[in-house]
């Protein structure tokens, strides 16, 4: 009987595949194909990844021009510098938003996403609607998320079709000169790292 992990599914099972993956796990463990520590490590690895990592990379790039240059030229090296050592062999390319250019990331073929940095992608990113429409009508998609691309600017879409994962380096919001790096990171939303929106504006709580 499998007592490993604490994730039984006693209530509200939503999919017949829930039992199926558990049976696969049990069989793989019994046959020694995988060990419990290996499965647990894999769980922990994903749990440690979140948009907060992306926010840290962005905030550091906003305050440190050398780090920004590294982030834009060698994303994995920049991530490693902040202790995020991505295990996945895929390249990480960070694309920069400017007043003239707004970037949007999609994977039309599956849902490639910089999981090694940001963790799991949101449901909408994996949706058929996003995967279908982001390449053909990026401006309409971005508007659906509540952001209006700047007048006269370009919208650039990156379809992650191969061994590269993409992340956006959004523009630093205005009126943030007095914020600490930590405070800056709090403005960076997951959606701004994919490009469907931009970072939060700073709240007016008497800085400077």
């Amino acid at each position: 009987m499998s007592d490993h992990h604490s994730h039984e599914e006693p209530v509200g099972i939503t999919s017949p595949y829930a039992a199926r993956i558990r049976s696969i796990e049990a069989l793989l463990l019994e046959k020694g194909i995988l060990t419990e520590p290996e499965v647990q490590d894999s769980i922990s690895y994903m749990e440690a990844r979140s948009p907060a990592n992306g926010a840290k990379l962005v905030a550091r790039a906003w305050v440190d021009p050398d780090f920004k240059a590294l982030l834009l030229s060698d994303g994995k090296a920049a991530a490693s510098e902040l202790g995020m050592a991505p295990k996945h062999p895929a390249e990480l390319i960070v694309v920069e938003n400017t007043p003239e250019v707004h970037n949007l990331i999609v994977c039309t073929l599956c849902s490639c996403y910089p999981r090694a940095i940001l963790g799991r992608p949101p449901d909408w990113y994996k949706s058929f609607e996003y995967r279908s429409r982001a390449v053909k009508e990026p401006r309409a998609v971005i508007r659906e998320f509540g952001f209006e691309p700047p007048e006269g600017g370009e919208v650039i879409v990156h379809d992650s079709t191969a061994d590269v994962r993409y992340m956006v380096l959004p523009m630093r919001p205005t009126d943030t000169e007095d914020l600490s790096e930590e405070e800056l990171a709090e403005l960076v939303t997951r959606d701004s790292l994919v490009g469907v929106n931009v970072p939060r504006a700073p709240s007016r709580t008497g800085h400077g």
């Binding site: 595949y17 793989l28 279908s132």
Partner: protein, 99 residues
Amino acid sequence: MGRVHDMGGSPGGPIDKGQHEVEDWERLADAINGALGAKGLQSTDELRRAIESLENYRDLSYYERWVAATEKLLVEKGVLSSDEIDERTAEIERRWDGP
């Protein structure tokens, strides 16, 4: 090989921005694939190919596709058999359904 997955530019409706709570079995699907990948037993490319080949691709959720594809690959490689997966799945479901 179906091309259903190759959907860039296809018509699509409004994007549902809701986020479901990731369930434990979905975390496990992620973890099993991660662990198999880390040991060189399965590649991302194999997983993608197996997902793309699912006949009911459009009817399955994201992680359901992962589980179905993982099973396909493990059976293909002779690591597990569909029968033993069926059997163990039925046992687990009986246990969950209670006495």
